[in-house]
């Protein structure tokens, strides 16, 4: 079953195309990351999935065919990017209130609220007013409010922004627990490290358009198969002897100094069809002594920067909130 099926949705605000013909599918029971630079259209996409705004074209199906909106609401939990709470409400009441809006009875909502507060270490604050809580604690209350009705599909927009490392870990554990319980978690982030740690599937969006999607492991394998090798030479002379080999464009298309901390001198991008073995043979044939020869799996960060382009990552303008 698909937890989310997005078919060709577009959204335009005035002259700005926020989301341009985007499609993707989220299998049930996975942790799915929507990645993209600021202003790429992540929040707009998630808002359309939650029926907060309607797409100009295309459509969305949830949990195997439910339409976003009242039909799907009891099964979906959503933490929006702009989030706040009623400052004067008591913590437990606030969570229970959100549960009731998602269709729970008052008693059930309170009971589950208690459980969540316990789980998030906020039990002793249950009768305090929301405004008495620190920002991090308020954010945990928001998570609880988004998940209290035990939705099959949990959608979190930039859930890690503003969290300290300890609470970020708590959230990561919660997300994993939810998946272990058979639920689907769809979240957006611009923090590649967070995504890399917990996502099985990713979807990269930039300037409103899909860049790539799929299983993270597959994407990494593909990127690696296209060929990237880290080299460390024994001595300066070895490096000179390697020059002529690395200059062969049928073997490698690019040679870059290796990133610091990688314990390598250069990183080589192989020509298509060349293969790491041919490069190794050529280097050994040229009597290059190697301290290290390693086929590299690129980090999600590298893939992201390469595919999205430094440009897009850095110059992408933040969509003004009024348009979003």
């Amino acid at each position: 079953m698909l937890a989310v099926r997005v078919v060709g949705i577009s959204k335009r605000f005035g002259n700005h195309v926020a989301v341009d013909d985007v499609s993707f599918e989220v299998p049930a029971g996975v942790i799915y990351g929507v990645l993209g630079p600021n202003g790429a259209g992540k929040s707009t996409t998630l808002r359309m999935i939650n029926d907060i705004i309607a797409p100009d074209s295309g459509h969305v199906e949830l949990l195997g065919g439910l339409r976003p909106g009242p039909e799907a609401a009891p099964h979906v939990g959503f933490l929006p990017e702009e989030r706040g709470l009623y400052p004067k409400m008591r913590v437990l009441e606030m969570i229970a209130f959100m549960g009731e809006l998602r269709g729970l009875t008052g008693r059930d909502a309170r009971r589950r609220g208690e459980t969540w507060l316990e789980r998030l270490g906020l039990a002793q604050w249950r009768t305090n007013k929301v405004q008495d809580l620190s920002k991090g604690m308020q954010q945990k209350v928001q998570f609880a409010a988004a998940m209290i009705h035990e939705p099959e599909l949990i959608i979190l927009d930039e859930p890690w922004s503003g969290l300290d490392p300890i609470n970020a870990d708590v959230l990561r554990d919660v997300v994993r627990e939810q998946q272990a319980a058979g639920r689907t978690v769809l979240f957006s982030t611009h923090l590649m490290e967070q995504a890399e740690q917990i996502c099985e599937h990713i979807f990269i969006i930039a300037r409103g358009k899909k860049v790539l999607d799929g299983r993270l492991a597959d994407i990494k394998r593909t990127a690696a198969a296209e060929g990237r090798v880290a080299l460390a030479f024994e001595a300066g002379a070895d490096r000179e002897r390697a020059e002529s080999v690395l200059a062969d464009r049928t073997l490698c298309v690019a040679v870059r100094p290796a990133a610091t901390g990688e314990h390598a001198d250069v990183e080589v991008e192989l020509a298509i069809g060349a293969g790491a073995q041919r490069l190794l043979a050529a280097l050994v044939g040229a009597a290059v002594a190697l301290r290290r020869f390693e086929v590299v799996t690129p980090s999600l960060h590298q893939i992201f920067v390469e595919r999205v382009g430094r440009d897009a990552a850095e110059t992408a303008v933040r969509v003004p909130t009024e348009a979003a």
Binding site: L66, A73, R83, L85, G103
Partner: protein, 421 residues
């Protein structure tokens, strides 16, 4: 496809309305205002009467008699009313008398003109010149003395003058054909109080809807809410929740107000004061129903407008500006109260109580004055209900689009586009 889960709890709008209601009921302000309202009402009835009794009803005055004949009878009459009055020389300098007032040796002085009792002007100057009950009794005494003197001049004996001056008993009843009628003053007062309470509660609670919408925007909770409930449910819940607070408060006030007025005698008696004659004109179930209907419709009408305004703006300052036109419109019925009260059956009253912007406030008053026919009442209610329905629909559209907007206020053109979404 998973089976759509059946909703176990209450519908969204109810959950939201309950939250809005409880949040307001729990504030100390609600309790203070609700309890202080009736206390103020009781004070309004009791304090002036008590003060009137307790306060100084007499005065120390000096009389400058330039007529040479009215001074003494006047002094005697005033002393009989427990005033301290004394005659001074007819040529006493006014500056000297003013000096005595300054030194607080007397409260004031009366100058009897030389041509009295047939002509001339009596002049009183004193520190109590604006004290209405004291001046009234001074007037009465002067009047009696002057008339007696005039009768004397016409050779009328005192008993005949008294017979001439015997008070005429006049009562006014307000009626528009119904033989009960009611005290004219009481009917007006009740109508006026009802109108004022309606105006006040619409201004207070409908405007409260606006503030609360804006606050949800500024503290960003609106996003979470919109994710969980339809904007229409949000708006409806908010208007109902805030309205219930208003209804509870107004009901408490009305009950305490009616009790206060009906127990007026006992209440005033406790302060040793005679209550005077009038009681509340009879109100039957229909009257109460009319007041309640207009309160609800009027509140909904304006609350929907205010909710839409709240959705259009993104800060309290902007909200202040944007609500000004509506507040102005709300003042119009207040300015037209006299028009309706003076001629409840006239054309102006008819128009004002049919137009939805003013009918909610003015119709209950016109009805209590008996100025509106049943047809007119029903038509007015239908117009108001219809307009409320329309306004609420438009407001819901504006609300749906506007609620997630921050920053720039929409132009009229954008607003029209929102309505067509």
């Amino acid at each position: 496809m998973i089976a759509a889960r059946k909703r176990a709890g209450l519908p969204d709008w109810m959950v939201i309305a309950r939250r809005e209601l409880l949040e307001r009921l729990r504030t100390p302000w609600f309790i203070i205002v609700t309890l202080l309202g009736p206390v103020m009402m009781i004070a309004l009835v009791v304090v002036p009467v008590v003060l009137g009794r307790v306060g100084d009803q007499t005065a120390r005055i000096q009389i400058v008699d330039r007529s040479g004949r009215l001074g003494e009878p006047l002094r005697v009459a005033l002393v009989a009313e427990r005033w301290r009055a004394e005659l001074v020389a007819p040529d006493t300098d006014e500056q000297l008398l003013l000096g005595r007032i300054r030194d607080d040796r007397i409260d004031g002085f009366l100058i009897i003109p030389a041509a009295a009792p047939t002509a001339g002007t009596f002049v009183y100057k004193g520190d109590n010149g604006s004290a209405e009950p004291i001046m009234r009794s001074l007037n009465r005494v002067i009047y009696g003395v002057v008339l007696a003197a005039r009768g004397d001049a016409l050779a009328l004996p005192a008993d005949k003058v008294a017979a001439l001056l015997a008070p005429v008993d006049i009562t006014t009843r307000h009626t528009t054909g119904d033989d009960q009628g009611s005290s004219g003053l009481a009917a007006f007062l009740v109508g006026y109080v009802v109108m004022f309470v309606l105006y006040l509660s619409i201004v207070l609670y409908a405007a409260n809807v606006l503030r609360s919408v804006v606050q949800e925007k500024t503290n960003r909770v609106v996003e979470i809410m919109v994710a969980a409930a339809k904007p229409r449910a949000l708006m409806l819940g908010k208007i109902l929740g805030v309205g219930s607070v208003g209804l509870i408060q107004v009901t408490v006030w009305a009950v305490m107000g009616v009790v206060t007025i009906n127990q007026r005698g006992a209440l005033l008696g406790a302060f040793g004061v005679d209550a005077g004659g009038w009681s509340v004109p009879p109100m039957d179930a229909v009257d109460v129903g009319v007041i309640l209907t207009y309160f609800l419709l009027g509140y909904f009408f304006y609350a929907a407008i205010f909710a839409a305004i709240g959705a259009m703006v993104s800060s309290e300052q902007e909200a202040q500006q944007a609500q000004t036109p509506v507040m102005m419109i709300l003042i119009i019925p207040m300015l037209c109260v006299q028009l309706v009260a003076n001629d409840p059956r006239g054309a102006v009253a008819e128009v004002l109580t049919q137009v939805p912007f003013s009918s909610a406030i003015l119709m209950p008053m016109r009805w209590s004055l008996g100025g509106a026919s049943t047809v007119s009442l029903v038509v007015s209610m239908l117009i108001l209900a219809g307009s409320t329905f329309l306004v609420a629909r438009l407001a819901a559209r504006i609300y749906r689009v506007g609620i997630l907007m921050y920053g720039k206020r929409p132009s009229l053109r954008e607003l029209v586009r929102w309505l067509r979404y």
